[in-house]
């Protein structure tokens, strides 16, 4: 049977279900908190050239778009002629996978009737990969943990026992890290079973013509959307905190008909610490930001990503050179969409939001007994927390909500069962949203104390403490972040620090920028914000000229 256009549409639709099933398998079996609770993963199907055909609608853009490129690296390094049925390939190389060692990518070649026809790939953030742990303090990637080069996790169905031993010997959580490697392999297998059933149903033995159909339709839709953006050159600069010195992220967008080029020339050079970003991760987030504004309906695949040409000069902080440390590359990566959207605003006024808190305020906590002889066990706790998003042209920003990342927070009650800490506060940070006709989203305040007999260390990886989210079209800036103890002691926004027993850490997360002049805000909205304590009386008067009439 020769497939018709409707058959191709149905198969395309089915592939989305296939990769959803692949992702679901991973979410349900993974150990990594960030996979399970926060959806920090991606899963997809590729043709034999390494073009991504479909991707599960889960996870965060950093994984999603970076994994799209990874399969071509596997093809180049291993060679199609060396692929056998039963092979499973693996890497966590930050420059070939998704940007830091904690992310493991597993690629499984797909065979049909003995012929190689494509790949399933998936990526997940594992609990531990050795080294210094998840934090910015390393000086080189070597200190950040074990790097697994592109290699075979299994060949012809035989798992590489040496690789497993090697990983087990180098990580703090051998059962969980190795368990997650198996989960990744199993999720590809689940996808493969479903794909084979579909090929049976439609009576075809290859993916090439279906892949061509998907690529052509997606690329065409994306290019049509780009062509609706007025041609021109648009430049934007945003200064953020960085680690040891402020960082300028500079982008020049060139729109020429159906082409769009984002060039990060002019961006600051590399840091001596782990805030550096491999270029693949920069491309992932730049592309995500542009796609949200220009072609949000087109599904993610190589065809829809291709029209966005993203360039960062090697050696800049957004295209870090080996062996730079890259552990917390997410911080700058999350800030990239604000920069490209700011440039795009010049071309498409009234579409993009103001700048937001953007970079997640992840916190990795190590609780330890103050008396080592007490026998009290230590614990590792990871929390995801979000500040405010920028106000939109016609609506307020979202308070305490992740953007551009797509992760979720964890329950405080559940976290307090995991480790000996008390979270005394996790609520909205009053007055932190940037003033504007549309108000920026509010940040949040979190207060954490070790339980009796404990102190804790935490890895700070927080931005927008010095340089706040800017408003747009006359909107005000969002509040800066603050990292301190409740007794007033100011702490560093990045790096490992200790909080002694009896002291409380207070994190005040940044707010989003406002949109439009504050005096244009509807009086009823100002009054409602005041009544709900979302803004202070002083802000109502000073920012909005509202005196409660």
């Amino acid at each position: 049977m020769t497939p018709t256009a409707i058959d191709y549409q149905i198969m395309w639709n089915r592939l989305i279900a296939v990769v959803e099933e692949q992702a679901t398998t991973l979410i349900r079996t993974a150990f990594s908190t960030s996979v399970r609770e926060a959806g920090d993963l991606s899963a997809g199907l590729f043709d034999r050239q390494g073009r991504m055909m479909a991707q599960a609608v889960t996870g965060t853009p950093g994984h999603v778009n970076a994994m799209a490129e990874s399969v071509t690296h596997f093809i180049r390094e291993i060679g199609l002629q060396h692929l056998y049925e039963g092979d499973v390939l693996i890497t966590n190389d930050p420059w070939m996978g998704t940007g830091h060692l904690h992310d493991i990518t597993v690629v499984t070649p797909v065979f049909r009737k003995g012929v190689h026809i494509g790949f399933f790939a998936c990526t997940a953030h594992v609990v531990d990969i050795g080294g210094r742990g998840f934090g910015p303090d390393a000086g080189e990637v070597f200190e950040e943990g074990l790097l697994i080069p592109i290699s075979k996790f299994a060949e012809r169905g035989e798992v590489n026992a040496f690789l497993i031993k090697m990983v087990r010997a180098n990580v703090r959580t051998p059962d969980q890290t190795v368990g997650d490697m198996y989960s990744l392999a199993a999720c590809n297998e689940a996808g493969n079973r479903r794909l084979q059933a579909m090929l049976d149903e439609f009576g075809i033995d290859g993916l090439d013509s279906l892949s061509d159909f998907i690529m052509v339709a997606s690329e065409r839709a994306t290019r049509e959307a780009i062509a609706r953006v007025p041609a021109g050159t648009y430049r934007n600069t945003m200064r953020v905190d960085g680690f040891e010195a402020p960082i300028d992220i500079v982008v020049t967008l060139k729109v020429e008909g159906e082409r769009l080029i984002a060039d990060f020339d002019g961006t600051s050079g590399m840091s001596a610490f782990g805030v550096n970003v491999p270029e693949v991760y920069t491309r992932a987030y730049a592309c995500y930001g542009l796609k949200c504004a220009i072609a949000p309906q087109v599904p993610n695949n190589t065809g829809s990503l291709l029209p966005f040409e993203i360039i960062a000069r090697e050696g800049s902080i957004l295209a870090a050179r080996r062996p730079a440390p890259v552990s917390i590359r997410h911080v700058l990566g999350h800030l990239v969409p604000d920069v490209v959207l700011g440039a795009l605003h010049q071309a498409l006024p009234g579409v993009v939001p103001a700048e937001g808190s953007s970079a997640l305020w992840n916190i990795q906590i190590s609780a330890r007994a103050t008396d080592p002889d007490s026998g009290l066990p230590g614990a590792e706790i990871l929390m995801f927390n979000s500040g405010g998003t920028g106000a939109r042209p016609a609506t307020d920003g979202l308070s305490a909500t992740a953007f551009p990342s797509g992760v979720s927070t964890m329950s405080v009650e559940a976290t307090e069962h995991v480790g000996p800490i008390i979270i005394w506060r996790k609520d909205l940070r009053e007055g932190s949203g940037g003033a504007g006709t549309m108000r920026g989203g509010l940040g949040q305040v979190i207060e954490i104390e070790a339980r009796d007999g404990y102190a804790f260390w935490f890895n700070a990886m927080f931005d927008r403490v010095v340089h706040p989210a800017r408003g747009r079209e006359g909107g005000g800036t969002g509040a800066r972040g603050r990292v301190e103890l409740t007794d007033g002691t100011v702490l560093k926004p990045k790096g490992r620090q200790k909080v002694a027993g009896g002291k409380r850490l207070r994190l005040s997360l940044p707010g989003g920028g406002g949109y439009g002049p504050p005096e244009g805000r509807a009086r009823a909205s100002v009054a409602a914000d005041l009544e709900a304590d979302l803004i202070t009386g002083k802000q109502a008067r000073d920012d909005y000229g509202y005196d409660g009439d």
């Binding site: 639709n13 279900a17 150990f31 939109r392 305490a400 909500t401 927070t409 009650e413 307090e416 506060r425």
Partner: protein
Amino acid sequence: MPLPDIRVGVDIGGTFTDVALQTPAGLSTGKVLTDYAEPERAILAAIEVAAGQAGVALGEIAQVIHGTTLVTNALIQRRGARTAFITTEGFRDVIEMRSENRFEQYDLNLELPRPLVPRKDRFTLNERMGPTGEVLLALEEAEVRAMADRIAGGGYEAVAIGLMHAYANDAHERAMARALSEAAPGLPISLSSVISPQMRELQRFNTVVANAYVQPQVAGYLSRLVERLRGAGIAAPVFLMHSGGGLITVETAAQQPVRLLESGPAGGAIYAADYARAHGLDKVLSFDMGGTTAKICLIEDGTPKTANTFEVARTYRFKKGSGMTVSTPVVEMVEIGAGGGSIASVDQMGRIQVGPQSAGSEPGPACYQRGGTEPTVTDANLLLGRLDPETFAGGAIPLSTDKAETALQTIAAAEAITSPEAAFGVTEMVDENMANAARVHTVENGRDIEQFTMIAFGGGAPLHACRQCEKLGIDLALIPPGAGVGSAIGFLRAPFSYEATRGLFQTLDGFDPAAVNAALEGMEAEARTFVEAGARGERTAEKLIAYMRYKGQGWEIPVPLPHKRFDGADVPDIRDAFETAYRTLFGRIIEGLQPEITNWSLTVATVLPDPVGVTRIDSGSPAAAGRTRRFFDAALRCDVEAVEVERTAMVPGAVIDGPAIIVEPETSTIVTSAYRAVGQADGCLLLLRKEIVS
């Protein structure tokens, strides 16, 4: 104790109020339009219709069983009481911050659902419990009194109290409630430690807030209903269907209305489960397709699968995450925006998309000739010959093939294909969407869908059942009679039941039998009180579930355990039970990791009488065939000549091989070329794949 002779089930849905009256002579059913202003008026009207048909006096009715979408609608439409929420200082915004994520990645203008209680009505107390119920910060009496006075003077109609870790120690919640009831006698108060005593503050707070928010309205409605029934001479006790698939008294329902969410669909699942039991089917997928949505539920060993959390009031295209997660026992269902009224369109990639927007019943599909112009699934089915324009809805709604064709031309033009080809594309896409949802749901539960039998009901399901089975690799489907009022019939077949839950966090290493036994005793007493209120003296059974996971994981899985007094020697058995459940779901276990228990659930339910067994009939004599019609067989990709058979002709043993169409006033069953239909002893239609008949 035998069931009373004459019982009536009433289901209030969005459009229709359905009734099913059981008498010794059989079942009579009725349907009237839902009355939004006074729902109880429609109930009485529907009961009168059914009683009239059956020749029963209203006074003879011995039991009224009721389910309603009223609670769900009140949450969706934000038509609840002015509610105050009292919580722990530092956690005022839990219900507003939600899980801090966006349910749609690429929408820059996304709006999150607003909390039921706005920030100005959320108040905090300086107090704090720890995770094991230890007091970290004591609650001051003076603060409690001040808060009570403040709420009393605030003009609130209901109050929810939800404090951190209250599932582990409810002392502070109770102290606050006592002070409030002194300061404001009669003001309804809901406590999180009563309504949903489980770990995870967002779900627990959502649940207690939702309960308080709908309580005055639901309590008022229920008392008016009882009064109205009394006035009409129905003195029988009234019971409510709860979302977990059982019955509670009207008094319990008025106290815990959050348990009534989704009671109608739960009735549908019970209806399917009853047929599963009668036919001896241990793995069943129920498939209920209406005008706007399709609902899928797994029924194993005659029991619908339940969960202890679910998401209500989704605001964004039925999208996961766009509603409000509440933790209350519920029959677990997957609902997708796929129904007869679902609207088809062509996206930017040139792909046909169907739903979730629906033309609903007004204006309805284009072929209804009531002003609808957009192409729907029903229009496509009409064009493909699967519906008869003359006899649809018993001839009450004449269908226009021309209007359907015109509507589908927009799709055909965009795709450069013919209208019938476009119609095929539309039905195939909606079938694909439903099949995918069913497949993912079974995978999530670690099941293989090909081993399941489908039970299809609701107006649209018989049209699509065979195609679903083809796509899913299912050999057998059952289409029960009376499917148009399935939920109301299901109410009559539900047990009295109550599920009590407790958060009690323990690693298996640190298993504390005394604490567990004490909690279980309390849960059993609680559940029994509610069940006994309805089921005086009936035989009951208990079902105990521990929610467990490996230490370090974030999702618990339900682990069935024997209901007994535990001691330390039971730990290996609990571990075995966990590993069995884990292996079923995930295909393996993980050596070297410690399991832990987070929540417990104990259900006490009356034991249902065994249904009359039905022996499957695979073959017999040919059914009396009527005229022939043509319809489009999707698997064959061509029109086929089909025999039309009246459903009434499908007597036990009557056989018709596909392609065939079995017609009845409410719907039509499409038997595709790959299937055979056989009438069963209880009036069901059995669809079986011809290959397995051999």
